[in-house]
């Protein structure tokens, strides 16, 4: 565990010693403001909740998380530091955990910095704060799922742009599977159980359920399992890439 902390600290520091984290946080905050107040009609709805804020999160993450995750392995490959890192007495799993937690915490910091919105809502009315907390947790878990997917893609290439595009495309699929468009498209060509499986892989539906205030076990399990599966896949990709 100690080794994960060492990697975690280095990664977290490196986000903040380059403009990456600051730009990311800046863009995240301004975009979520734009979505909440302009597209989401925060005031016009005259309801004391943060639904217009959380509703756009899957779409925000779709483009912003790959921007964070693309460098995680690609840069190590490109600069050759992967060779340095992986000849230190650290296990590959410890390294992956450390890297994941550092980036996930950056995303967590972003979410924390949206606090003023929560304060505003509380000032204007009396929202269901339990629901808001559930939504925050759901959002962070979803961000973690996007992130672990992105890390996998980043491990496959030394090119950050390729990693970014791959992640956006695959994340997009994971959002889409829950929408009516896809369900309608696949209706008839797939048996019902397969259709249900595809639909249940959607980040969107799981997140929306959490944003409605119900932290159901299956939603939590879905995101946690998603993260663990991706991190394991990440491990396999790193090993395969080394052997080739």
């Amino acid at each position: 565990m100690n080794a994960s902390i060492v990697v975690f600290k280095r990664e977290f520091l490196s986000f903040f010693s380059t403009p990456v984290a600051y730009i990311f946080i800046g863009i995240f905050l301004s975009l979520s403001g734009v979505f909440t107040f302009i597209f989401g009609g925060f005031y016009e709805r005259e309801q004391a909740d943060l639904l217009p804020f959380f509703n756009y999160h899957p779409w925000l993450y779709l483009f912003l998380v790959p921007a964070i995750s693309m460098r995680i392995w690609s840069e190590e490959r490109k600069s050759g530091t992967i060779e340095l890192l992986m000849t230190l007495p650290l296990s590959t799993f410890q390294i992956i955990i450390g890297k994941f937690l550092a980036a996930w915490l950056v995303l967590g910091v972003c979410l924390l910095l949206t606090m003023p919105l929560w304060l505003t809502v509380n000032y204007l009315g009396s929202p269901d704060n339990g629901l808001i907390l559930a939504s925050y947790i759901g959002s962070w878990l979803m961000a973690g799922s996007f992130l672990s997917l992105g890390m996998c893609m980043s491990a496959t290439t030394r090119n950050q742009v390729v990693a970014f595009i791959l992640t956006v495309v695959i994340s997009f699929l994971f959002i889409l599977t829950g929408t009516d468009v896809i369900t309608a498209l696949l209706q008839g060509s797939l048996p019902n159980w397969a259709l249900d499986t595809v639909a249940s892989l959607s980040f969107l539906t799981h997140f929306q359920e959490m944003a409605k205030g119900v932290i159901r076990l299956n939603n939590l399990v879905f995101f946690v399992a998603m993260i663990m599966i991706c991190l394991f896949a990440n491990y396999v990709i790193i090993l395969k890439k080394k052997a080739a």
Partner: protein, 310 residues
């Protein structure tokens, strides 16, 4: 001690390391030589546990590199090819990170960092970002991180590449001054470096071992070993030189009036040749005994067909 047994590495169809075996003992400073693409770096990557071998085995201090990877990595200090380092960190932050990852206890950490900083003279750039450093400083940062935990085994892939002559000298002295009971393996293109710092030379080409002995033995392979070079002030009759016992051949460079007298099987012919010069009153301006030309031996060993040296 390191023991490499019948090591093979293939990338797809391409054989990079082919049935390589050698062992290295404490006190050995091994110069690992070979043309580009000979498999030097790949072999080093396998010893350090970065790449898995296709077949064969490597043990470090009695432990298998594949199964006891974390343990063997603890014993090794490694400078990868090109001295990679995290560009956005300062030299100091980077060394702290390596010290932490190398499990140096907190109480000894600052001492260890101070030691390497003075060993490779990094005082002036300690708080600079690594990507702003010159190539020479980057290389020294790489050497510093490899030395920080005072490893028993030091593996340096081209440690002097990109350094100026003064820095090269400094790095060579540093390697020579390491404790005598350590194992050092350096790969290099610079043949003089091997005679300057190493007490053993291993040459590989096309993934196979071509030579493994002392640098002196390597020089002895040269037909220039113990040959005598003469410069004459004007042309004189030198045909008699060939008659001397132990002289194998003569080479004459008329443009510079330079003559090289090759000895048979590298034996010393200085006495005989100087007697001849005295007797015949040859107009000799300079005379020198050659040690052997490494570049020539290197070319010969590495371009020889596989069968000839197998």
């Amino acid at each position: 001690m390191i023991s490499v047994n019948q090591l093979c590495k293939r990338f797809g169809e391409h054989v990079v390391v082919d049935d390589l075996s050698f062992s290295v003992n404490p006190g050995d400073i091994v110069g690992f030589l070979g043309p580009n693409g000979a498999g030097k770096s790949t072999t080093m990557k396998m010893i350090t546990g970065f790449l898995p071998a296709t077949s064969g085995s490597i043990s470090v201090a009695g432990q298998e590199v594949t199964t006891e990877s974390i343990n063997t990595r603890r014993l090794i200090g490694y400078l990868p090819e090109g001295a990679p380092a995290y560009a956005e960190m300062t030299v100091y932050q980077f060394l702290v990170f390596i010290a932490q990852a190398r499990e140096i206890p907190k109480s000894k950490r600052s001492q260890a960092i101070d030691d390497v900083i003075s060993k490779v003279s990094l005082q002036d750039v300690l708080y600079k970002q690594i990507d702003t450093l010159s190539k020479g400083f980057k290389r020294r940062v790489g050497i510093a991180q490899a030395l920080i935990h005072d490893p028993q085994i030091l593996i340096l892939d081209e440690p002097t590449d990109g350094l100026d002559p003064n820095q090269k000298k400094q790095v060579r002295e540093l390697i020579a001054n390491l404790a005598k009971e350590k194992i050092v393996i350096i790969s290099t293109h610079i043949l003089e470096e091997v005679t300057a710092v190493c007490n053993r030379a291993i040459i590989i080409a096309q993934g196979k071992k071509r030579f493994d002995d002392t640098p002196t033995a390597l020089q002895a392979l040269s037909r220039y070993h113990n040959a005598i070079s003469l410069t004459l002030s004007y042309m004189a009759d030198i045909s008699g030189l060939l008659e001397i016992e132990g002289v194998a051949d003569l080479a004459h460079d008329p443009q510079h009036n330079r003559i090289t007298v090759f000895s048979e099987q590298g034996q010393s012919i200085l006495q005989e040749v100087s007697n001849f010069i005295q007797r015949n009153k040859l107009p000799v301006e300079t005379l020198s005994v050659e040690q052997g030309r490494l570049d020539e031996v290197f070319t010969e060993l590495t371009s020889a067909p596989k069968e000839a040296t197998a």
